[in-house]
């Protein structure tokens, strides 16, 4: 079974709002193996909503994930007060599983606010679990806006793969 699916099922049951973004999100838009990029991380984009963040942490802990802020375990109690502080700083919390899955719980998607992404997200299904996923266009535009070296490498490779797979041969 996919490593994210059981967690996503629990998040859905608790009505947590999130969308998958990043390379993991882009992978779900693949229609062929040639567009799937190796990654062990998943990026979940969350709204700036303390109750939602607390619920996310709670689900992650119940699923056996450890929670981190930078390189330190996330402080306790993991309550609304702490969530408010995290949201004020738009800080990233990270959940790591014994199975070596790393999930970044981010409140920031460069160039976008959550509601915009949420309105246009698409639901894909993995192992019977619904996975809310950001539009491919939004993921690509955000990576372009972020412009880190690793984002540029991804975009260059992704664009090349799309051209190889989709562009019609020149008529001649």
């Amino acid at each position: 079974m996919d490593l994210l699916a059981p967690l996503a099922r629990a998040l859905n049951e608790q009505q947590v709002r999130y969308v998958v973004i990043g390379v993991g999100g882009a992978n779900y838009w693949s229609h062929t193996a040639g567009l799937v990029f190796a990654t062990q991380d998943r990026d979940l984009f969350l709204p700036p909503d303390a109750d939602n963040l607390v619920a996310t942490w709670s689900v992650c802990e119940a699923a056996g994930f450890e929670l981190w802020l930078l390189n330190e375990p996330l402080d306790r109690p993991r309550d609304r007060w702490l969530a408010d502080r995290i949201i004020e700083r738009r800080a990233l919390t990270r959940a790591t599983s014994p199975a070596n899955l790393q999930i970044d719980l981010t409140l920031v998607m460069k160039g976008f606010d959550f509601d915009h992404v949420w309105r246009e997200h698409r639901v894909f299904v993995i192992d019977g679990v619904e996975i809310p996923t950001a539009r491919l266009l939004h993921i690509i535009e955000s990576k372009h806006a972020t412009g880190r070296d690793k984002d540029k490498l991804f975009l260059a490779t992704h664009r090349d793969a799309l051209e190889q797979l989709l562009k019609k041969p020149e008529e001649g």
């Binding site: 992978n27 993995i126 539009r135 266009l137 690509i140 070296d149 540029k152 989709l166």
Partner: protein, 73 residues
Amino acid sequence: MDVMKSTVEDGLRILREATEQAAQIRIELTDEYLALIAQVEAMPENQAGADKSWVARLLQWSTEHYAKATRRV
């Protein structure tokens, strides 16, 4: 069978070259690239409710495959 010999220096050199290359890349969201993205989003395989379990399987296989990789010198 030929076996490629590698050293830590080789690995570091490759990483250094990749970093330098990445810093020089200029990616523009051209109309052509955006049209390809729109084409992907419109595919029947990418409509709401599409089953993407195969993507998860492929990633899992890839992770396990490379986790077993060993260096031969």
